[in-house]
């Protein structure tokens, strides 16, 4: 187990380094400097600005000093917001995005597993078809359509819930969380259904039934552990997808989280902000993938042995 954890952790480091390198040089390769849109400034001002953002140095040197600063958590100044630092802006948006992601994940896991298990109990009956059809809608209906539709129905026509904002009053977190979580609930429902169906045919379940255990104990105690494994290994990638999904949801509901910062930075050509956010989010995603792999290996010893070969 420890070897597995050690190896997977070591494997993540070059990935993160590669992300930083590629992003850094991509952003440097972007046509048009960050100040080329501004009205003409005097050469001295231009030089001072370039020195401030280290643009006067050769690219390799810029790269090395960026890496050095990064280790101490310094992501440089924002090109667009004068006087603000990228790391400071990220830390400002992070709690909001994390909260939104957490609610969405809770919704997705709760609704997804319960309806998946429910469907798997009576396959190919109405009890299976109804939740699975809804799940298909959830997968096919993109968040940027579901969100506005929910706003239209519950925010505008019924006037039950606020249509935008975050943390201003009760209820404004409900619609964004549902919008973000819906698609993952649908995926998790499908995953847990097929996982459960596979486990249900296994011998150890027949043994459990043959011992005379009541059905609910067979399901809850014996089938769930194996049946929900695919869901656990999906959680890492799901978290990554949730983060990028939050781009849209935060834009729709005007939530001042990381996703909205990123999109704004993209439009403002705020290169240091783009660089910083990309590096930060990628690292986060790689770390979460690592965690979900470790949990999956812990739950399923076969994965560990596979690795030893």
């Amino acid at each position: 187990m420890w070897r597995f954890i050690g190896f997977r952790t070591l494997q993540s480091i070059p990935v993160i380094l590669a992300v930083i390198t590629v992003t850094f040089f991509l952003v440097r390769a972007a046509p048009g400097g960050p100040f080329s849109n501004e009205k003409a400034v005097s050469p001295q001002v231009q030089a001072a600005l370039e020195a401030q953002y280290r643009l006067d140095q050769p690219p390799m040197q810029q790269y090395v000093s960026y890496l050095v600063d990064l280790v101490s958590g310094d992501m440089g100044p924002s090109f667009y917001y004068p006087g603000r630092r990228v790391d400071e802006l990220i830390l400002q948006g992070l709690p909001i995005t994390a909260e939104l992601g957490l609610y969405a994940l809770i919704i997705a896991v709760l609704i997804g597993t319960v309806s998946g298990i429910f469907a798997a109990l009576r396959p190919n009956t109405l009890q299976d078809y109804v939740p699975m059809s809804i799940a298909m809608v959830g997968i096919c209906m993109p968040s940027f359509l579901l969100g506005p539709t929910l706003v239209l129905v519950f925010g505008i026509w019924l006037d039950w819930l606020p249509v935008s904002g975050w943390g201003a009053g009760p209820g404004d977190k409900i619609l964004p969380s549902i919008t973000l979580g819906a698609m993952y609930a649908a995926y998790i429902a499908r995953l847990s259904r097929s996982g459960m169906l596979e486990v249900m045919t296994q011998d150890y379940l027949r043994t459990a039934r043959a011992k005379g255990l009541p059905e609910h104990i067979v399901i809850l105690k014996h089938a769930l552990r194996g049946g929900l494994l695919p869901v656990v290994s999906y959680l890492g990638p799901a978290f990554a997808a949730l983060l990028s999904g939050s781009f849209v949801v935060e834009t729709i509901f005007q939530i001042p989280g990381l996703g909205r910062f990123y999109i704004q930075a993209a439009f403002n050509r705020d290169y240091t902000m783009i660089l910083g956010t990309t590096v930060f989010l990628s690292t986060l995603i790689v770390v979460f993938n690592l965690l979900s792999d470790i949990i999956a290996a812990w739950l399923n010893p076969r994965l560990r042995y596979q690795f030893r070969k």
Binding site: V15, M141, P148, I156
Partner: protein, 297 residues
């Protein structure tokens, strides 16, 4: 599922002289949802191809005096704020959305199949290195990278194809590699080798055609993913740019005015969702029909 596979094995046991493809077609025909999906897709493809000839109004034709109007006899799906016919715009938008879907998927298909086949055929160290690279790429947050690419290199259609295609080939590569690896052990491949065929000929003439089933299934399931990605980017303003249009872009316009003119959101949304539905049902149906086992991730 279990029922299905027993039927399959029974079918195979009786020597009726039907090929794998006849068999699969037969099974697909019995899957009602998949057939509805297929018919719907053919319908959409045909009307989108014929759009310049059958669209009720011109793409840029404005009627400012009319403005946004609800669906009526003259404008079946209503008009937008410039008085442009929504049905016409959805048809033209569909052309772009479907085009992106098919071309970007083809890019993914070509890269993925070639890469996977090479890795599977070469085996050993080469395979190890190539697949480790796929694993690494797989862990990256691609949405962020596509946005980055669109920002850095400007928003053009060609780049969009390339960026989306470059992201979606990973699953395909894994699947093809697995298939090729198991096919490689078969006698007919050994025979081809001993006849002195070049590796390229073996890969393209013998291995890839035999791995076609899973490739078809995942191609069908990749198209909706790609279309969703395009719509997502266009919605954020980072994909298709006006005056071009796509379903994602129409939805984003619809959102701006949904309070007053909900039909501008509902119909483009419906067009996209139904098409994705159809593609997913067809893909699931094909998976069952061709009896592909590999899981998606």
């Amino acid at each position: 599922m279990t029922q299905n596979s027993t039927i399959t094995s029974l079918d195979n046991a009786v020597p009726k002289g039907t090929s794998l493809w006849d068999d699969a077609l037969h099974r697909l025909r019995k899957n009602r949802l998949a057939m509805v999906g297929l018919i719907y897709l053919v319908f959409i493809l045909v009307i989108c191809l014929l759009t310049p000839w059958i669209a009720p109004y011109g793409y840029e034709e404005q009627n400012l005096r009319l403005g946004a109007s609800a669906p009526s006899a003259e404008h079946w799906l209503g008009t937008d704020t410039f008085g442009r016919d929504l049905l016409t715009r959805i048809l033209y938008g569909g052309r772009v959305s479907l085009l992106v879907g098919f071309i970007a998927t083809s890019v993914a298909l070509v890269i993925g199949v070639t890469y996977g086949a090479i890795a599977g055929y070469a085996g050993g160290k080469v395979d190890n290195i190539l697949m480790r690279l796929v694993d690494i790429l797989y862990a990256l947050p691609f949405m962020i990278f596509i946005i980055l690419l669109m920002v850095v290199f400007g928003r053009n259609l060609f780049l969009l194809f390339l960026a989306i295609g470059a992201v979606e080939w990973l699953v395909m590569a894994r699947i093809v590699r697995g298939q090729v690896q198991s096919l490689r052990q078969q006698e007919y491949v050994e025979a081809a080798m001993s006849l002195g065929l070049s590796p390229a000929a073996i890969i393209f003439r013998h291995l890839i055609p035999n791995a076609l089933g899973p490739v078809i299934v995942y191609t069908t399931l990749t198209i909706p993913n790609v279309m969703l990605l395009e719509a997502f980017l266009s919605f954020l303003g980072l994909g298709i740019q006006p005056p071009e249009s796509s379903w994602g872009l129409l939805i984003s316009y619809g959102v701006e005015t949904m309070e007053e003119y909900p039909w501008l959101l509902i119909y483009p949304g419906l067009a996209l969702t139904l098409t994705l539905f159809a593609l997913n049902f067809l893909g699931d149906g094909l998976r069952d029909a061709l009896d592909v086992k590999a899981s998606k991730d």
